[in-house]
Subunit: 521 residues, 2 copies
């Protein structure tokens, strides 16, 4: 980070929310109103232009190219795959062939109920119904493209009423992105350009239809900038025509330091997220300017299972979710007491952590457990966590308490009470259901050793985005009808998840609506 | 309602959310991209144009006109005052001269804490700090304009840590709107035009600054249309220049049947709201299209104290909040059981009512109480409620149960248990704090008569809107800086209230930022 950007960043911390500070930013890309046909000269012409190379973008491109269309895929970053390629590779499919194969009963109705419960009832049910109808097709399409999924009983993720989740062979979204990328590369007429940033839409002269995009090639995303979208001046301008339309699959905005803070001021500028650096709101905000409607924009899912001791997603989420949280505790370092149900939903836990962090910004709570709490399949991660320093191991509670400056007696009292309740089958103060599995045993094994991870909420998924219909068409505020030539899929859209996304429904949403956009266009 | 609009409305219910149905709407005002200077010929020229005549609009206009500016005020409806004129007339002022006069201790910090608590921590604190600094000035300015406030001890509203609320002499927002309207009318160079709808902004040729608005005079708002903003074709086009800028004070969108449902699909098209018919999102959505940023758009406050048996706000809110809810019960008519703490926050109660109404759309819960539960100051409303048929009176529980088809034995059991708990000072199942006041007594007096009101949540206030800074300037997505020539105040903005507005802070927000917009422009 250079001095100039440092001082700007510091100045921003002093200023009012994204306002006083932002007044200092150079407005390199300042331009209101998307250009129209008469304002531009098209450099190249395609049938379809796809913005983004995550699950939604590649599925859309693959489907459109398979139909014989000439497709241009723009990716602003230097690598393919956005957040998708660093995703955990789980895809929930309700009432799937996979479930039938393994004798699991499920129904689309139950899936919708589960999503509505997590989403606080504000989900767009017609999008969930579309997932019920088409997610199996999306899975099959991913397989056709070369994705390999573990042929085991579907996994059971939190909030789902049945085991519904398939996981890729390599337990990563790259297990879909890599083959799909290769599939697309092989199709005639399909072209991917990395380091190419879409700047704006090109509209018809009457302003009603999307005809293409303006973009910059040789663009270098700059992580040091407070707002890459506003400040970055790199690259050379190009104008691309899209005869059939543009499919926006530009992802969420968990790393947009300005826009995410407008929605939730607790997300201060220097806060890390689980996302890749390029997850900003630029393309989303341009869509609003041609009449696309915002939906559920301020619901930002934050991972209460992340750690301040590593960047990005890291290993802490696995080690806490499939480890320390189940039988272990999370304590407030200031008083050694528990402050949440370690297995509650993401929002409840993130909010509980924020209560502490607002009072004492560096007093990260600590998750504590013993070896018995880890799921067998994540044993390989334990060493990784310890080596990276994200997780620490202590022979005694005394050493653990000393390291984190937790009042020792209070901590011991907390764990004693917790273990007694669990052992006796008495409901603990937060009614944690997983403790039923250790009835009659020690939840936290007092002989040690003890494992600990410091916790911080990290923005993980932005539920909101553009309002689309079941055909992945973007609806206009001005007409109430689809904007001709504009489609969107994946995290840049909103509605499917409502207020809170259930785990592993993101991949489902992205692949399903990406495929549909490619079919519809 | 004519046949045509009926059939369209019915079609919409069948179609997907605002999509299939909307495709049928005529796109009379379809136009993307705001016109620029070169596209228009200005019919008239002013210094300042204000959109809307509620608290924010009139305060802005009065302040700007007082500074000597020539001000045009546009109001799309036939009457002045929007929702403000039907508002309850309460204004919370933290640490006010009024509090000092009556010996009440308060602080700005405590006010901000209260707002953050209700707002789930996502409020824009710099806007709350501005209210702390300037709301006394806003009150004083309203008095200068002729508003009269009751010279009594400030009232104590839910969620506030101290009595902070002044109420107008006539206990209505009209106590501010009427004198402020007269004040503005008397100022030279101030012109109000009703039935004049702003259609769009006029931008500078570089697209960066707001220069004025396009509008239609002789516009007739049509309540029968599903979307007046999209469908209404009435009026003659005019173009007005605003040399200093436009102040958007167009209010919230609780009556926008399309946009509110996109944010919360539980708000079906035929659902009533507490708002006036003109509370739609048209101007807000136009602002997004010139680069204004959305904030907290999906937080729609719903009044759990409203009734399906009257239109709009009505008398039910008073009769339940200051009556039946305090010592009475709300029961599910299907089983005669309570289903919520009748004194919980608005969102909790509205959500609880929705759980019932989603299962059985017409099974409106019923609030039941006896005479002892009404506050003395609302005694005059009791007769009003009974006469209008919103509240019913029964000599016996048997008659009440029969009327609402509530299982009698279950209802009696519910009330018996409730009364026993209250009498014995045992916490009831929902931990309702007000029952402490009837310890040793009957909460519901079994001798009767019994009063009952059917309940439904009604959209009441849209917390979200445009992102503004502390000077009421609207921030641009494209530059991160204020959009030159664009200001906004009141319910069309977001951030002050976060996820949930405390009672009587709306008037504060509107008058304060309206005044500031008029000062800054």
């Amino acid at each position: 980070m250079n001095k100039e950007s440092m001082s700007r960043r510091d100045a921003l911390k002093l200023g009012a929310l994204g306002t006083a500070g932002l007044a200092m930013l150079s407005a390199s890309n300042a331009m209101a109103a998307a250009p129209t046909e008469k304002d531009v000269k098209f450099d190249e012409e395609y049938d379809v232009i796809v913005i983004g190379t995550g699950f939604a973008g590649l599925a859309a491109a693959a489907k459109a190219a398979e139909r014989g269309y000439k497709v241009l895929i723009l990716e602003k970053m230097g690598r393919i795959g956005g957040n998708s390629v660093i995703n955990g590779g789980g895809m929930a499919i309700p009432n799937s062939s996979w479930q039938k194969k393994y004798g699991i009963e499920d129904s689309g109705e139950q899936f919708i109920k589960d999503c509505l419960k997590a989403g606080l009832g504000i989900n767009h049910v017609e999008l969930l119904e579309t997932i019920v109808k088409r997610s199996q097709d999306a899975l099959d399409f991913s397989i056709k493209c070369g994705a390999k999924w573990q042929d085991v009983k579907p996994a059971w993720f939190g909030g789902h009423s049945a085991p519904r989740t398939l996981v890729t062979d390599n337990m990563s979204g790259s297990g879909v992105i890599k083959p799909m990328h290769e599939f697309v590369e092989k199709l005639p007429g399909c072209k991917i350009m990395t380091r190419t940033k879409m700047d704006d839409f090109v509209m018809s002269n009457d302003g009603l239809s999307v005809l293409g995009v303006t973009a910059r090639i040789n663009y270098r995303f700059d992580v040091k900038l407070l707002s890459d979208d506003v400040e970055n001046k790199t690259g050379e301008k190009k104008v691309y025509r899209a005869k059939k339309g543009v499919i926006l699959a530009s992802g969420g905005f968990s790393m947009d330091k300005i826009f995410r803070k407008i929605q939730d001021p607790r997300l201060v500028e220097d806060m890390d997220a689980t996302n890749h650096d390029g997850a900003t709101a630029g393309a989303l905000l341009k869509a609003f300017q041609i009449g696309a409607l915002p939906v559920h924009i301020d619901w930002i899912q934050q991972g209460p299972w992340a750690s301040p001791d590593e960047r990005g997603f890291g290993v802490a989420p696995l080690l806490t979710q499939q480890g320390l949280f189940k039988f272990g505790v999370a304590v407030d370092v200031r008083n050694g007491k528990r402050f949440m149900n370690e297995m509650a939903d993401r929002k409840t836990r993130a909010d509980a952590e924020y209560v502490i962090l607002r009072e004492a910004p560096k007093a990260y709570p600590v998750a504590i457990g013993t070896y018995n709490t880890f799921d067998t399949q994540i044993y390989p991660q334990i060493e990784k966590g310890l080596q990276g320093g994200v997780m620490k191991k202590f022979d005694t509670l005394d050493a653990l308490a000393a390291n984190y400056k937790i009042p020792l007696d209070a901590l011991k009292e907390t764990i004693k009470k917790y273990n007694e309740d669990a052992k006796n089958g008495v409901e603990d103060q937060f009614k944690k259901q997983t403790l039923k599995d250790v009835k009659g045993k020690e939840a936290i094994e007092m002989k040690g050793p003890f494992y600990a991870i410091r916790l911080v909420p990290k923005p993980h998924h932005t539920m909101g985005g553009l309002h689309i219909n079941t055909k992945a068409q973007v609806i206009s505020a001005n007409t109430g009808k689809p904007i001709p030539g504009l489609f969107a899929a994946g995290e840049v859209t909103g509605g499917t998840h409502g207020a809170s996304r259930l785990g592993t429904v993101a991949v489902t949403d992205c692949l399903t609506f990406g495929m549909i956009a490619g079919e519809t266009i």
